[in-house]
Symmetry: C2
Subunit: 84 residues, 2 copies
Amino acid sequence: MKHAAGILAFGHHLRRLRRARKLTQEALADYAEISRPTVQRIEKGQAAPTLEVLLSLALVLQVSLKDLVDAPGITPKESELRAE
Amino acid sequence: MKHAAGILAFGHHLRRLRRARKLTQEALADYAEISRPTVQRIEKGQAAPTLEVLLSLALVLQVSLKDLVDAPGITPKESELRAE
């Protein structure tokens, strides 16, 4: 998977947002209408959510899409890409 | 597809960013290592890119992920979701 570091950074950010709202993975999955294993894989950086799922997550977590993806380290540096 | 309006808003925003950089769909596709039909479908709101593709697009367009997704009308309103 390309951008593994960015995808993992997103997963960690999502986990922080979820926990700040005292939601379990199960509850987040239910509200966002995705499966719990999908939430788990996203939080571990093992799956890259689609824009459709990102929009569902933003809605459930009551943040804008912009804030949802604004995780430290999420935007790849060009140097990082060149190294792949 | 859920969030069709948000996904279309993203497509239009992507098209604006691409054109502002004087890139053809073909060039954007090449640099981002995705197919030209994929770019086309994303710009038309017919496909929801994954976070992996979003990160590639941000890199090619030289914007942060946050700015890439910051399209007017992209974040769904709760009323919109309830109406679906």
